[in-house]
């Protein structure tokens, strides 16, 4: 591999991406049993939400505490299709109205509601997974950002929307399955999604989509739009008075983050086999922000690792000490935000990378001076602590 290629690779942050790809596609499938691998598959779906938050919160400077809404909408769109497939007249013949989902029958519905009808077609459902969250984000984003609502107010409003949607889902039991959610999902176009082999396939689909999503977001970060987002975070008025419609840029990243969350939700439904309001509300939405904060809100790959790590922690601790988990997570969040504002990725940038750079230059210099035991002087670039808020592709251009 020549040097130009390596530089190209590094400025795009592709080494960490490659590391993630190896971990997800090779290491985990080799090392973990099918139960644990299923868990990772589930955690990866939160990775979609986390990278959406990197774009929205890390880059755009807009904190949403309602990403569960979009995760849920994507998840429900998928669940509706699967539920309709599982509710064919043959398997529901003991119901008073065969051919409709069981929870509708229990709630005395006698026909499928009209807005459920389109979801019997997979292409419509898949389109719904993407379009419904994106459209809702557009409406919310356009209305709020055009009115210059931002910061804490925006966070609180998104939180309120998460609450409203949860209440709505739980209240409309006959249409949504209520607090239990949509359960007993079985097949996708006749393919049983509950078997180990299906789970493995879905795991790979999820991992590959996630890796592609990271590449896509990386491309956006390096585009002028990415630079504008950073500029807006720094001096919003300067961007506005340079001829940009700031509200539209914020709306765009909000839609992007919603779309990613929706895709994550749909993959969650497929792998876990149900969807319920417990993934929509305030607490899951805040947890999603913690994933991104722990992993590093400026790093796409970091945020995915954050989602995996925090969820492993959650599973471990809530099995052993269920009461402790909430406190632990709150402490983790406060600790990370106060001590390591750029999360794990920031720690790696400020500690591991300079060390690696020193090691590399030491190795490169060695053949030239084999007899000299003294370490070569540290180049300025490696000795300088890197600016944590500056993304890699910009930091590279500085040198």
């Amino acid at each position: 591999m020549n040097n130009a290629f390596l530089t190209w690779f590094r400025t795009r942050g592709l080494f960490s991406w490659l590391a993630l790809a190896v971990v997800l596609l090779v290491l985990f499938p080799l090392l973990l049993d099918s139960f644990r691998l299923g868990l990772v598959g589930k955690y990866m779906t939160y990775g979609f939400v986390a990278i959406g938050l990197v774009m929205l919160w890390g880059y755009g400077g807009v904190l949403s505490l309602g990403q569960g809404v979009f995760f849920g909408l994507g998840g429900y769109a998928m669940a509706m299709f699967l539920k309709l497939e599982a509710s064919d007249p043959e398997s529901t013949k003991i119901q008073s109205t065969p051919g409709i989902p069981d929870f509708m029958d229990w709630n005395q519905l006698t026909a499928l509601p009209a807005w459920w009808e389109p979801f019997q077609y997979l292409p419509v459902a898949l389109l719904g997974v993407i379009v419904v969250p994106t459209l809702l984000a557009f409406v919310i984003g356009y209305a709020l950002f055009k009115r210059r609502v931002g910061g804490v107010y925006f966070a609180i409003i998104t939180q309120a929307i998460a609450l409203i949607l949860t209440v709505l889902i739980i209240g409309q039991q006959g249409y949504t399955g209520g607090v239990n959610g949509i359960t007993d999902l079985k097949t996708l176009l006749g393919w049983d999604i509950r078997t180990d082999s299906a789970k493995l396939v879905l795991y790979y689909v999820c991992a590959i989509l996630l890796l592609l999503a990271i590449l896509g977001c990386g491309w956006i970060q390096r585009s002028k739009l990415g630079t504008l987002l950073l500029a807006m975070r720094d001096k919003e008025d300067r961007v506005r008075f340079s001829g940009y419609d700031v509200a539209m840029f914020k709306t765009f990243v909000f839609c992007l983050s919603a779309m990613l969350a929706g895709i994550g939700g749909a993959l969650f439904t497929l792998q876990v086999g149900f969807m319920s309001p417990s993934f929509v509300g305030i607490v899951p939405s805040i947890e999603m922000v913690i994933f991104a904060a722990v992993g590093g809100r400026m790093s796409l790959v970091g945020a995915v690792f954050g989602a995996l790590l925090v969820n492993f922690g959650k599973t471990y601790f809530s099995e052993s000490f269920p009461d402790l988990w909430l406190f632990l997570m709150a402490a983790l969040f406060i600790g990370v935000v106060l001590a390591f504002p750029n999360g794990l990725a920031g720690l790696i940038d400020s500690h591991i990378k300079p060390w690696l750079a020193r090691w590399r230059t030491a190795k490169a210099a060695a053949p030239m001076a084999p007899a000299d035991p003294a370490p070569p002087p540290v180049p300025a670039a490696a000795a300088q602590p890197p600016e944590p808020s500056l993304p890699a592709h910009l930091a590279q251009e500085k040198t």
Binding site: I220, S223, K224, L225, T227, L228, L230, A231, D234, K235, D237, R238, R240, F241, S242, G243, Y244, D245, V246, M248, F249, F252, E387, S389, L390, L394, E397, K398, T399
Partner: protein, 247 residues
């Protein structure tokens, strides 16, 4: 007045903040290619006037015509796209981005969401960044992080970001505040160069500097125009001496 040859025609402009008229029935015309300096004591409403022209503050009444087109009520980005650039009183640059990016992002292409996604830093953009960087004396610091520049260089960078947009009207709020004598000198030369093919409004306190650059001076006091004309005439106006130069 309907159509005029003025590049900017501000007429009967008024803005009141809770009854306090920061700009009070102000009328001001600016010729093409003119460099106008606005002076006046602190709180006279100079910054507010620029805020009104660029759409940052909404006027209570009056009219602002740029090339005979009404600007009042337009969103900020439309006013900028019409050709009005504005520098803020405190240097307003993207401290975390390299100087090059600061300039590149100000280039007036790819201003929509999808335009920005598709935007490429072509040879044309690169040449323009280099040319502007040369103009503002930062050609050697393009890869510096903007936050590391000196105060004066930050002021120049912001002027450079405006030049990237090639505006027909450039408004600068106290561009030499905090600059050394040498930097003031360079800025005066810069302003004389850049007003060759555009109109410029400068707000400034430093009388030596004003004398050097101004074509015409407008003195503001309590939201009104107190006097207007060449520097020497304004300077000898007894009302001006009374409120501004006298103390």
């Amino acid at each position: 007045m309907s159509n005029t040859d003025f590049v900017l025609a501000v007429e009967d402009l008024t803005v009141s903040f809770d009854g306090f008229k920061a700009i009070d029935n102000l009328t001001l015309y600016l010729d093409r290619g003119e460099l106008r300096v606005i002076i006046g004591p602190n709180g006279a409403g100079k910054t507010t006037l620029l805020d009104l022209i660029c759409g940052k503050t909404r006027a209570t009444g009056g009219s602002i015509k740029f090339k005979n087109e009404e600007m009042l009520g337009k969103p900020e980005y439309r006013i900028v796209r019409a050709g009005i650039g504005r520098k803020f009183q405190t240097p307003s640059i993207y401290e975390n981005l390299p100087v090059f990016k600061n300039l590149e992002v100000s280039f007036p292409h790819g201003r929509g969401v999808f335009g920005a996604l598709a935007f490429k830093c072509t040879q044309e953009v690169n040449d323009r960044v280099q040319a502007v960087a040369g103009e503002i004396g930062l050609a050697g610091k393009l890869d510096w992080e903007a936050g590391l520049l000196s105060h004066g260089e930050k002021q120049w960078l912001e002027i450079g970001m405006l030049l990237m947009q090639d505006p027909e009207l450039l408004m600068l709020d106290e561009p030499i505040a905090g600059m050394s004598a040498r930097e003031r000198e360079l800025t005066a030369e810069l302003l004389q160069r850049i007003c060759q093919n555009r109109s410029v409004i400068v707000i400034e306190h430093d009388m030596e500097f004003v004398k050097r650059i101004a074509h015409k001076v407008t003195v503001m006091h309590q939201g009104k125009v107190l006097a207007e004309g060449p520097m020497d005439k304004v300077q000898s106006d007894p009302r001006v001496i009374d409120v501004y130069l006298g103390h």
